[in-house]
């Protein structure tokens, strides 16, 4: 089944590879001063989004925004554009709106798994390439799970905006929602550094866990931290993520259920 799906959707899978290549190159160029000596650290540097400390840097926020824009444009935008372009003929064939939601969810899950699979391969290869690898398997899997759920949340939320609003407006709203936690983190870091723990409670900000433990290296004179989560904090993050995921799926269902948008006009 997975093979069949991949073969049918090879165009979008090629786009995912392109996205990862661009994202990886940008990360590599801006982080070339440092290579972590463990798998988790490497994963966080190259695939884990933006570090807390980096959220105070305009360059890193712009970089994060570029990668996010590319991600939304190539994956959820493509999924929703395809449905919207031929909406009525597609929708009535599903007969039930929940079936359309299921169809979108399956696509999201496949793309997320594929995205993460390629990421993991790259991270493992790069870690072998540059350092003797020090694997902390359990922690790596923990981070992989939270970052996968984070990706799913972003997909569902942006699909809600893209479906509910015009595609271009939906894209802007999606980007605002993705970048907002990073900007809030930056503001907290700059103005209230003693309250840094607050960053953990910002919704949609559970993909990067580098700030739970003290820093171990410096990048552009900014201390950058990476470490695994203690179990109780991990479970807290996981519960928050599940709640966010349920809200985002419900949002998409709401957008799909709004029948008055189908076909657009009421002239006749």
């Amino acid at each position: 089944m997975f093979y069949k799906f991949m073969a049918k959707n090879k165009k979008i899978l090629i786009k995912i590879l392109f996205l990862i290549a661009v994202s990886f190159t940008l990360k590599y160029v801006t982080h070339r001063g440092f290579i972590a000596n463990e798998l988790l650290g490497t994963y966080q540097i190259y695939m884990g989004g933006i570090f807390l400390e980096e959220s105070a840097s305009m360059l890193q926020i712009i970089l994060f925004l570029m990668i996010s824009a590319l991600f939304i444009y190539l994956i959820p935008y493509e999924i929703i554009r395809e449905i919207k372009e031929n909406e009525i003929y597609i929708r009535y064939r599903f007969e039930k709106n929940t079936k359309l939601l299921f169809f979108i969810s399956i696509k999201n899950i496949f793309y997320c798994l594929f995205y993460q699979f390629i990421n993991v391969i790259i991270v493992i290869l790069i870690t072998f390439q540059f350092n003797p690898m020090q694997i902390i398997g359990g922690e790596f899997i923990k981070l992989l799970i939270t970052s996968t759920i984070q990706l799913l949340i972003i997909l569902f939320i942006s699909e809600f905006f893209l479906y509910h609003l015009k595609l271009e407006i939906g894209m802007v709203f999606s980007l605002l929602l993705i970048v907002a936690p990073v900007i809030i983190s930056g503001v907290i870091l700059d103005n209230f550094p003693s309250n840094i723990e607050l960053c953990k409670f910002i919704p949609l900000n559970h993909g990067n866990y580098n700030y739970y433990y003290p820093s171990v290296y410096t990048l552009y004179d900014i201390p950058v931290t990476y470490s695994a989560l203690p179990d109780y904090k991990y479970i807290f993050s996981l519960i928050s993520q599940v709640i966010e995921l349920i809200i985002s799926i419900s949002g998409l269902m709401y957008a799909i259920n709004r029948k008055d948008l189908i076909g657009g006009n009421y002239e006749n």
């Binding site: 031929n86 009525i88 597609i90 009535y92 007969e95 039930k96 008055d260 009421y266 002239e267 006749n268």
Partner: protein, 214 residues
């Protein structure tokens, strides 16, 4: 298949676009929804298709109430006024994509549907390069390819030339023989008048009169 429309109404921006409509449709017949622009025929068709919510009344399809038991009528084929397709796919690719959703028919069925409407299945042009008439033929093909029990067509003869209209009439006759329930909304009903078993005239969202063809 039996469709009962029981006293339905819909108001949009203070306009009653559907006003206390009660009708009944059954299999093996072709119904014409006739009326000038703005009479409510397209909205009635959309209401039956489950594409708009109604404020009052109910639409019951084979003992299942629309929007309560089902979101859309089961086994429906539909054309709306402006045909939309994936512009950068060929006609064949478009139909294959749609056919995969229900997964009831295979490639030969799609080929046959294209041939029935007079389109070449081997045409490599994308839909973006199709004329309006070709798009309309493609829309008819997508509506009939899965041999649905209910066929709802909104202005299906728009942009069709006389040969294509003749072909369309033949297709509809075959579909009727197959025992499908066919409802066609049109303002050019003179072209296809002989197809209809019943003509329902709408005006300002109300049923003005119903004529049965002998």
């Amino acid at each position: 298949m039996k469709i009962n429309i029981n006293d339905i109404s819909r108001e949009i921006k203070s306009n009653m676009i559907l006003n206390n409509i009660t009708l009944e449709f059954e299999s093996g017949k072709i119904y014409g929804l006739c009326g000038h622009n703005g009479s409510g025929k397209t909205m009635l068709l959309r209401a039956i298709a489950g594409l708009i919510q109604i404020d009052k009344g109910e639409i019951v399809i084979d003992h299942q109430t629309l929007h309560q038991d089902i979101d859309y009528p089961p086994e429906m084929g539909l054309i709306i006024e402006t045909p939309t397709f994936f512009k950068y796919y060929t006609g064949m690719e478009n139909l294959l994509y749609l056919a995969e959703i229900r997964d009831k028919i295979s490639k030969p069925d799609v080929l046959e549907a294209l041939k029935r409407v007079g389109l070449d299945p081997n045409d490599k042009r994308t839909v973006a390069k199709y004329s309006l008439g070709m798009k309309q033929r493609l829309a008819i093909a997508q509506a009939i390819m899965e041999k649905p029990q209910l066929i709802l067509l909104d202005e299906p003869t728009n942009a069709l030339d006389q040969d294509a209209i003749l072909q369309f009439k033949k297709i509809m006759t075959v579909e009727k023989m197959r025992n499908a329930c066919i409802i066609i909304a049109t303002h050019n009903y003179q072209d296809i008048d002989e197809l209809f078993d019943e003509k329902i005239y709408l005006n300002s969202g109300k049923v003005e009169r119903v004529e049965k063809n002998d």
